[in-house]
């Protein structure tokens, strides 16, 4: 007998037995007394009911432990009774990771299990980005009458790791703030480049290729053509991972944080491809910082970070978060010439103030905002109005905003870019 507890299932049967017996005595009806006698037998059984020592081995097989996003993964749960007694009523509930949903089959099992026998449950989950560890499996054992139950947990470590490839499916236009390295952001600094900027007087040491020979032929003076210099930017992608950002229009849709991380990973790849140095930060209780850099190693690091860092998990964090401290720390880490791409659903005013403060400290801020609002209830409609007002406020203060609805990110970026004036 392991630590079972009384379920109170048969409480009150003793009362019924006594009432039946009383009625039998009073009416001189033997059948009622007989019924009371049966009740006494049941009561005696309940009194001695117990459950044997539970010793179970649980194994879990995944059809693919490293799937791509949206792949279906078949999970097979094997439960083996390693004890010496039969378990008459065994119920198993598997600890599916919170971020994964069961699409097909059931993660539960109800069976009787002889010693040494194995029962199997199979179900299918759809993979989403992240590292998902299975939680403890809950095992409930009852005696046949249901009078005593015991609840135990068995741990079988299983991890599903889903690391999407970083693909640059959309190009993120940057603002004018740049580093001193050559790149693709056109600046107003005259120098070497592609787009004509101005002509100035020749100075000793100017390259011969940039001398305006037509002018020389016409007027006899030496002049140098200047182009707009193209430089690389240092960009930090800041993802809003606060509890407030964990919102979704309904239960089936991706949460705003998942979409923000998607947007950040697309932007990361696009910016890295165009020669900018890119960093990643999370603005939330779980700290995450990847300093701006470039190169193949950096890409691999970022890919792992987006997929497995707890800050970017699709489940809301539960730690305490001191927003102003986090903002100060972020500011200290940002180089003065770093641009910021802030990915946030903008569902509260603090997100707006983060963007505005970063802009005020001299970082050119672009906000990429996945739209998590719905229209089903009055509150949802009001939240949509409020978010729209926040977008307007940001735009009015000179911050570029990409409002990303249901369409692919590339479409939203192209539409936003068309509305921006350089």
């Amino acid at each position: 007998m392991s630590g079972g507890f009384d379920t109170e299932r048969w409480t009150g049967l003793d009362g019924l037995v006594l009432v039946a017996a009383a009625a039998g005595v009073f009416t001189r009806e033997p059948s009622l007394l007989l019924a009371a006698g049966l009740g006494v037998v049941v009561l005696a059984y309940v009194r001695v009911a117990s459950i044997p020592e539970v010793s179970l081995r649980i194994e879990r097989d995944l059809s693919d432990a490293t799937p791509d996003p949206d792949d279906e993964v078949e999970v097979t749960l094997h439960v083996t009774n390693e004890g010496s007694r039969t378990l008459f009523d065994l119920r198993v509930v598997d600890g599916v990771p919170p971020a994964l949903g069961v699409d097909d089959g059931s993660a539960r099992l109800g069976t009787a299990l002889r010693p040494g026998a194995t029962a199997t449950a199979t179900y299918t989950v759809t993979a989403v980005r992240g590292e998902h560890a299975w939680e403890e499996t809950v095992v409930v054992v009852r005696d046949p009458s249901g009078a005593v139950e015991s609840r135990e947990t068995v741990d079988a470590e299983t991890t599903l790791r889903c690391e999407p490839e970083l693909a640059a499916t959309a190009d993120l236009p940057l603002r004018g703030l740049t580093s001193k390295y050559a790149g693709r952001v056109e600046t107003d600094v005259p120098g070497s480049g592609l787009e004509f900027a101005s002509i100035r007087e020749y100075r000793h040491g100017d390259p011969i290729r940039r001398i305006d020979w037509n002018r020389r032929a016409r007027t006899g003076e030496l002049a140098t053509v200047e182009f707009r210099e193209e430089r690389a930017a240092a960009v930090v992608l800041v993802v809003d991972t606060r509890v407030e950002a964990h919102v979704a229009p309904d239960d089936e849709t991706e949460t705003a944080v998942e979409r923000s991380v998607d947007a950040a990973s697309v932007a990361f790849s696009a910016l890295l491809d165009s020669g900018d140095s890119v960093g990643v930060a999370a603005f939330g209780p779980d700290e995450c910082w990847l300093a701006p850099s470039s190169g193949v190693d950096h890409r691999a690091r970022a890919r792992r970070l987006f997929a497995t860092h707890p800050a970017f998990a699709p489940t809301p964090p539960d730690g305490a978060f001191f927003a102003s401290v986090a903002l100060r720390r972020l500011r200290r880490r940002l180089a003065s010439d770093a641009q910021v791409v802030f990915c946030s659903p903008l569902v509260d005013d603090y997100a707006v103030s983060v963007a505005r403060r970063l802009e005020a400290y001299g970082h050119a801020v672009t906000v990429v905002s996945p739209d998590p609002t719905a229209t089903a209830t009055v509150g949802a409609r009001l939240a949509r109005i409020e978010r729209d007002l926040r977008l307007r406020e940001l735009r009015r203060s000179g911050i570029r905003v990409v409002d990303w609805g249901d369409e692919p990110l590339g479409v939203a970026l192209a539409r936003a870019e068309a509305g921006w004036s350089r």
Binding site: A21, G95, V102, P314, G379, I385, E386, L389, R392
Partner: protein, 190 residues
């Protein structure tokens, strides 16, 4: 407590032993008269009813498991406002929640007038006071303007069966949505 229990236990043991003795044929001078049987029946019935009553006071506690199959659910933006609306209809929390609802709608209406309608903040506040920001008298009235609602509309509101507060909030939100769009009132009325 323990003393009475012990006493009852003693009585029970004595009664059981006496019962077995009677079954074994020892005469204790007790006859199975109607009165005796009736007494036993009444005692048993009272005790039985006590046990049944105890059952009514205890709740069975079988193990309850969670729903690990479902994905973690996150709130929808604006669900806090919906909650406020529900408690504004409740009895105890009515006034505070109602104030929150009105304050929030008022602030948003003003912000919308400034950001979408292109008004100055003072102008927006004045418009809210006169009700000129919308052509829906219900919405205007809800945000504090003293606009009279036509009798026909009052009757219709009354008969619509919806909670009056929900209905008014719904209309106010619709009115705020329309601020700055083509079908907003062109200027100040009245």
């Amino acid at each position: 407590m323990t003393l009475t229990r012990r006493l009852f236990l003693l009585v029970g043991v004595v009664a059981t032993v006496a019962g077995f003795a009677v079954v074994a044929g020892v005469s204790l001078g007790l006859e199975l008269t109607d009165v005796f049987l009736g007494l036993v029946a009444v005692l048993a019935a009272i005790q039985g009813l006590r046990y049944v009553q105890r059952r009514r006071d205890t709740t069975p506690n079988p193990t309850v498991t969670g729903d690990p199959e479902a994905r973690v659910t996150v709130p929808t933006p604006g669900s806090d406002f919906d909650d406020d609306l529900v408690s504004a209809a409740g009895r105890r929390t009515r006034w505070a929640a109602r104030e929150r609802v009105v304050d929030r709608l008022k602030a948003r209406a003003k912000a919308a007038l400034v950001a979408r309608g292109g008004r100055a903040p003072e102008e927006a506040a004045a418009l809210l006071d006169t009700g000129g920001w919308t052509d829906d008298p219900v919405a205007a009235r809800f945000l504090g303007a003293s606009v009279s609602i036509p009798l026909r509309q009052r009757v219709r509101l009354f008969l619509s069966g919806q909670s009056s507060l929900t209905d008014r909030v719904e209309r106010t939100v619709t009115a705020i949505e329309r601020v700055g769009t083509a079908d907003a009132p062109a200027g100040e009325r009245r």
